[in-house]
C-alpha cells in the first residue's frame, strides 16, 4: 500500500495530546538560573545613565549586566548596520535590550529588572516610512546619513509604455505590519560547561544557530550543541537571531550555571521580528480588453530599528513575484529599505510573497472595475498559459516551474456558486435588514521550495540543500535523521510516509529524528516551504540508495539477482516467484554480519546521508474565493465563505496539507481583517499584548471549503511544491477584494488592511474614499 497521498494520523500526536511534549521551557537542569531583560521604554534615545544598584540588592539576584560591564560582539547581521546585543549608548526601538538580570528564579529576575533605572535623552522617534524619508528627519544611523539604508533602482521605469497605454491605474498600497506570534514565545536554555555548550532553543534552524553561535563565541562547532526540541510554532520568526540566544550562553559560561530565558508575550510582541511592514506604489497599464501592458512597482520596506539580512531581502522576494500568474510584457521594479524606530522586520509566513500577491491581485481588480469587466474574466485574459512553462519572468531569480492557473480558477468556480452570490449581493443592497455582501478572488502564486544553490546563502545560511540520513537498524526498522526542523508541520509523519514507500518498510517501523546538531548531519532548517520539496526529496533519494544496497544482501540470501527483487511491506521477494521472500529484518540483521554478506560489501552499509539539492524553486499556486458580509450599521466584517483551491503539486499527506492551508488562510484572514502592529507618535507600541493585538479565536473564523488540483513540479521526483505559506499568500487579497466589492457601489476603490469595523463604519458614513 502506498502511503504517499494517504490519510495518515500523525506520529507526533501521542506526546503532544498527553502532555508529554518537550518544549524548551519543559527542560529542567539542576542549578539553572534565570535571566530577564531590561528593555527600552523609549523608541529613539541616547542612554545617559543606567543605575543597577537597587537591582543588585534585590533578593535572589545574582548579577546585572549591561554593555558597560559585558564585552559582546554585535549580533551577526548586515554589515554596517550591526545590532548590539545589549544597547550601546543609544536605543532604536521600544523593547530593545539594555540590561540583563540573572537571578535564582524567574520571579526574582523580574523583580531585579524592575529596579534597574535607565536615564534617557529622547531623540525624536520615527514611526513611519514617510517620516523616515522626510527631509531633515532625525537619523537612526548618523554615520550613514540617511534612513534609507539600501536603494535598488529600476533600469527602466516603462513610463512611455504606461503613458501610451489606453488605460492605467495607480495605487498606493499599505501591507500592514504583523506580529508572527507563535503560541510559544522565544525560549532558550544554555548550559556552558567544561566540555562545551549545549543550547536548547525554540528555533527553526538548529545548525544555522549552532554555526552562528559557535563562531560568535569563538568556539569550535563540535563544542557547541544546539537542540530544538518541540517548537511551539515559528512562522518564520524563529529563523532570525535575537540577543537572547547569545546572552544566555555568554552568561552561562561566565557564571558556570545553566541559564534559562523564557520570553513573556509582551516581550515577544516587541522583540520577535515583525513581518510585512511594506508600502508600495503600483502603476498598471492595460488595453481595452483588460490585457496588461505594463506593471511598475516601487517597494518601501520598513526594516525597523535594525536591519536583518532576511528583512533586507524581503523586497527582492516581493518584486520577483510582483507579476503573479500573469503574462506582463513590461515589468519595472525598484525598492528602498528604510529604518524606523520600530521592532525589526524579517520573515513572517510568506516573507515578501504575500506582499506581491496582494499588490497584483488588488491591481487586477482595479482593471476589472475600470473596464467594468468581471474580475474573473480579467484574470483569465492574462494568465500565463499552461503550455508556456517553464516561464521566464522579468526577474532572473524566478523561472516558474509549472502551473495551471486557469485550472485552479475552473475548480474554484466549480466549488462556489458565483452567480448565486452575485444575485444575493444585489438583493441585499436594497434590504436594510440584510448585510452587504462582497465576493473577491485571488489567483495567487508564490515562490517556495527554497531552494536552488545560492538561494538561502544570501540570507546567511550555509547552503540551500537539506540533509537526510537513513539508517537501517539491525531489526529492520529505520531511523531518518534530517536537518529539516519542524515546528508543527508534521515532518515526522510525512517523511515516514515517503520513506515507507521507497524503503518498503512499514510506517510504524520508521522514526524521524530532528533538531539536535549532535546527532543530525549538518542541515539547513524548516523555512520557505521547503521541508517536503527539498528534504522530502532527500528522503526518497536516500531510501532508493539504501534499497539498492539492501537488494544485494537480499539477493545473496535468496540466491537471486538483485535486479529481480521487489520490496514491499517489509519483505523482499523475487518477481514472478512471490514464495521466494526474505524479510527486511533478516536483510537488515545480515547487513551487519561480515561473514554473511556478499564479499564486496562493507558491514553496516545500509546507512546513507544525502545533502539533497534541487535545481530550481517551486511555485505553488491556487485560486481563492471569499464571500464577506458587512453589517450596515456597525461595519463589522465577517467571512461567510472561504473557497480554497490549492495546487502544490504532489500531496504527501492530504490531511496535513489541508491543515497547512487552513492555518495559512487563518493568518491571511487575520492580516486582512484583524491584525496590525501600531505605534503612537512617540514610537510606543499600542498593540503590545494579546489584549490590544487581535489574534483571531475560533468564533472569528469560518469553516473552509477546500479543494485542489495537482500540477507536479519537475524540480523533484516527488513532484511536491511545498504548502506551508500558501494560505497566507492567497487569503489577504481574496478577503480585501471581497470587502472592496461589497462597498463598490459607494464608490470605494480600496480599503487598506486590516478592514476593521471602525474603518468600514467610517466608509459607510460617507467619510472615506
Amino acid at each position: 500500500m502506498s502511503l504517499v497521498g494517504a490519510r495518515v494520523v500523525r506520529k507526533e500526536d501521542p506526546n503532544l495530546i498527553s502532555g508529554r511534549g518537550q518544549f524548551v521551557d519543559d527542560v529542567k537542569i539542576a542549578g539553572t538560573a534565570h535571566m530577564v531583560f531590561v528593555r527600552s521604554i523609549e523608541a529613539h534615545a541616547r542612554i545617559k545613565d543606567i543605575d543597577v544598584s537597587a537591582a543588585l540588592e534585590c533578593e535572589g539576584v545574582i548579577g546585572v549586566w549591561t554593555s558597560e560591564n559585558l564585552e559582546l560582539a554585535p549580533l551577526p547581521g548586515v554589515p554596517g548596520l550591526e545590532r548590539p546585543v545589549l544597547a550601546k549608548g543609544k536605543v532604536r526601538f521600544v523593547g530593545e535590550a539594555i540590561a540583563v538580570v540573572v537571578a535564582e528564579n524567574q520571579y526574582a529576575a523580574a523583580d531585579g529588572a524592575e529596579l534597574v533605572f535607565v536615564d534617557y535623552e529622547p531623540l525624536g522617534a520615527i514611526t513611519s516610512l514617510s517620516e523616515a524619508m522626510a527631509e531633515n528627519a532625525p537619523l537612526l544611523y548618523e554615520e550613514i546619513g540617511s534612513n534609507v539604508v539600501m536603494e535598488v533602482p529600476s533600469p527602466n521605469d516603462h513610463q512611455e509604455t504606461i503613458d501610451a497605454a489606453p488605460h492605467n491605474v495607480s495605487m498606493h498600497i499599505v501591507n500592514n505590519r504583523c506580529a508572527p506570534a507563535p503560541m510559544e514565545p522565544l525560549v532558550c536554555l544554555a548550559d556552558y560547561g567544561p566540555s562545551g555548550l549545549t543550547l536548547w532553543a525554540s528555533f527553526q534552524a538548529p545548525h544555522h544557530l549552532r554555526n552562528t553561535v559557535s563562531s560568535w563565541l569563538g568556539i569550535a562547532q563540535d563544542q557547541c550543541r544546539v537542540i530544538t526540541p518541540d517548537v511551539g510554532g515559528g512562522f518564520g520568526a524563529k529563523v532570525n537571531f535575537t540577543p537572547e540566544l547569545f546572552v544566555a550562553p555568554t552568561l552561562s559560561k561566565l557564571l558556570g550555571r545553566p541559564i534559562k530565558y523564557t520570553q513573556t508575550r509582551s516581550e515577544c510582541m516587541t522583540q520577535m521580528y515583525h513581518g510585512r511592514a511594506q508600502e508600495q506604489d503600483v502603476d498598471i497599464a492595460f488595453d481595452d480588453d483588460g490585457k496588461i501592458l505594463a506593471l511598475r512597482v516601487m517597494v518601501f520596506q520598513d526594516q525597523g530599528g535594525y536591519a536583518d539580512p532576511t528583512g533586507m531581502g524581503l523586497p527582492a522576494l516581493t518584486t520577483t513575484m510582483a507579476a503573479g500568474c500573469y503574462t506582463i510584457p513590461n515589468v519595472s521594479v525598484a525598492w528602498k529599505n528604510v529604518v524606523t524606530n520600530t521592532t525589526p522586520v524579517a520573515a513572517y509566513r510568506g516573507a515578501g510573497r504575500p506582499e506581491a500577491s496582494y499588490l497584483i491581485e488588488r491591481a487586477i481588480d482595479q482593471i476589472a472595475y475600470s473596464l467594468e469587466m468581471d474580475p474573473v474574466e480579467v484574470r483569465r485574459r492574462n494568465y500565463i498559459p499552461t503550455e508556456n512553462f517553464p516561464y521566464a519572468t522579468h526577474s532572473e531569480i524566478a523561472v516558474y516551474d509549472s502551473g495551471n492557473f486557469a485550472g485552479c480558477m475552473d475548480e474554484l468556480l466549480n466549488i462556489m456558486d458565483y452567480d448565486a452570490i452575485r444575485a444575493e449581493q444585489e438583493e441585499n443592497r436594497e434590504d436594510p435588514s440584510k448585510p452587504l455582501l462582497g465576493v473577491g478572488f485571488a489567483s495567487w502564486l508564490e515562490i517556495a521550495g527554497f531552494g536552488p544553490p545560492g538561494s538561502l546563502e544570501g540570507f546567511g545560511h550555509l547552503g540551500s540543500w537539506e540533509s537526510v540520513q537513513v539508517r537501517i537498524q539491525p531489526d529492520g526498522s529505520a531511523i531518518i535523521y534530517t536537518g529539516a526542523s519542524p515546528h508543527g508541520q508534521g515532518t515526522v509523519t510525512t517523511f515516514a510516509q515517503i520513506a515507507s514507500d521507497y524503503l518498503g518498510i512499514e510506517f510504524d517501523k520508521i522514526s524521524v529524528r530532528h533538531g539536535d546538531t549532535a546527532t543530525i548531519p549538518q542541515g539547513i532548517g524548516t523555512l520557505g516551504s521547503r521541508a517536503v520539496a527539498v528534504g522530502g526529496e532527500g528522503v526518497k533519494t536516500a531510501s532508493v540508495k539504501i534499497v539498492e544496497r539492501a537488494k544485494q544482501v537480499a539477493a545473496h540470501l535468496l540466491e537471486a539477482n538483485p535486479e529481480d527483487l521487489t520490496v514491499e511491506d517489509g519483505n523482499f521477494s523475487v518477481k514472478g516467484t512471490p514464495s521466494q521472500t526474505v524479510s527486511w529484518a533478516e536483510v537488515a540483521w545480515t547487513s551487519f554480519r561480515p561473514l554473511e554478506i556478499p564479499e564486496d560489501m562493507e558491514p553496516g552499509s545500509l546507512d546513507t546521508t544525502v545533502l539533497q539539492q534541487v535545481p530550481n524553486f517551486s511555485f505553488p499556486s491556487g485560486a481563492y474565493g471569499c464571500v464577506v458580509e458587512i453589517d450596515k450599521q456597525t461595519g463589522d466584517t465577517r467571512i461567510r465563505n472561504m473557497y480554497l483551491v490549492d495546487d502544490c503539486g504532489t500531496v504527501i499527506s492530504p490531511l496535513l496539507a489541508e491543515g497547512q492551508v487552513h492555518g495559512g488562510v487563518a493568518q491571511g484572514i487575520a492580516q486582512a481583517l484583524y491584525e496590525e502592529v501600531k505605534y503612537d507618535e512617540n514610537g510606543q507600541p499600542t498593540t503590545g499584548t494579546f489584549v490590544d493585538y487581535l489574534i483571531p479565536a475560533a468564533p472569528e473564523l469560518p469553516n473552509f471549503t477546500a479543494s485542489r488540483i495537482s500540477t507536479p513540479t519537475p524540480n523533484n521526483t516527488l513532484g511536491a511544491k511545498g504548502i506551508g505559506e500558501s494560505g497566507s499568500v492567497g487569503a489577504p487579497p481574496a478577503v480585501i477584494n471581497a470587502v472592496v466589492n461589497a462597498l463598490r457601489h459607494l464608490g470605494v476603490t480600496h480599503v487598506d488592511m486590516p478592514a476593521t469595523p471602525q474603518k468600514i463604519w467610517r466608509i459607510l458614513q460617507g467619510g472615506a474614499k
Binding site: V9, S18, Y107, M183, G232, R265, Q489, A666, A697
Partner: protein, 166 residues
C-alpha cells in the same frame, strides 16, 4: 513570606510552601513538575494554561496557587492513564488533525473536556463560542472544531492503529 498549600493535582496531593504571588500555572509546572500545561501570554488571553479546577475550566495563569489550596486540579496529564486509552477528546484531536505545533493543545483539550462535560453534543457554534478564550496560531480552528465533534460522536473512543487513519 511563604504560605503552606495543599493542592490535589490529577488525584495526587501536592504540598508546598509558596510565595503568595505564585501563579497556579507555575506551581503546576515547577512544583508538581507537570509541564504539559503551557504559558502563552501574560494577559489571560491565550488559554494555553487552561486546566480544570474542581471540574471547571480555568486559566491557571490567572489563579494564584494559594487560591487553589485544598482544591482539585486536573491537567492534560490527568486525562488518560499512561498506558491509555486516550479520552475521546484526545483521540479526536489525533483523528481530525486538531493540532500542529501542539503548544495550545493541552489548553484546547481541557477547554474541550469542560465543554463536553456540560453539553454532550455541542453544535459547531457552541464549540466555537466555548473556545473563544483559547488561541491557536496553527490550525485555523476548523480541525479543532472537528476534533471535538469527533469526541462527541465517539464517546467511547475508538482504538485506531497508528498509520491506518480513518
Amino acid at each position: 513570606m511563604t504560605f503552606p498549600i495543599e493542592i490535589t493535582v490529577n488525584g495526587k496531593s501536592h504540598e508546598a510552601e509558596v510565595d503568595p504571588r505564585t501563579l497556579l500555572v507555575h506551581f503546576i509546572r515547577e512544583d508538581c513538575q507537570l509541564t504539559g500545561t503551557h504559558v502563552g501570554c501574560d494577559t489571560s488571553n491565550c488559554g494555553a494554561c487552561t486546566v480544570l479546577l474542581n471540574g471547571e475550566a480555568v486559566k491557571s495563569c490567572t489563579v494564584l496557587a494559594v487560591q487553589a489550596t485544598n482544591q482539585e486540579v486536573q491537567t492534560v496529564e490527568g486525562l488518560a492513564p499512561p498506558d491509555g486509552p486516550y479520552t475521546p477528546i484526545q483521540e479526536g484531536f489525533r483523528q481530525e488533525h486538531g493540532l500542529q505545533c501542539g503548544y495550545c493543545t493541552p489548553g484546547m483539550l481541557m477547554a474541550g473536556t469542560a465543554l463536553l462535560n456540560e453539553i454532550d453534543n455541542p453544535t459547531e457554534g457552541q464549540i466555537r463560542e466555548h473556545l473563544e478564550g483559547n488561541l491557536c496560531r496553527c490550525t485555523g480552528y476548523e480541525m479543532i472544531v472537528r476534533s471535538i465533534q469527533w469526541a462527541a460522536e465517539n464517546p467511547d473512543g475508538i482504538p485506531v492503529e497508528i498509520g491506518e487513519g480513518s
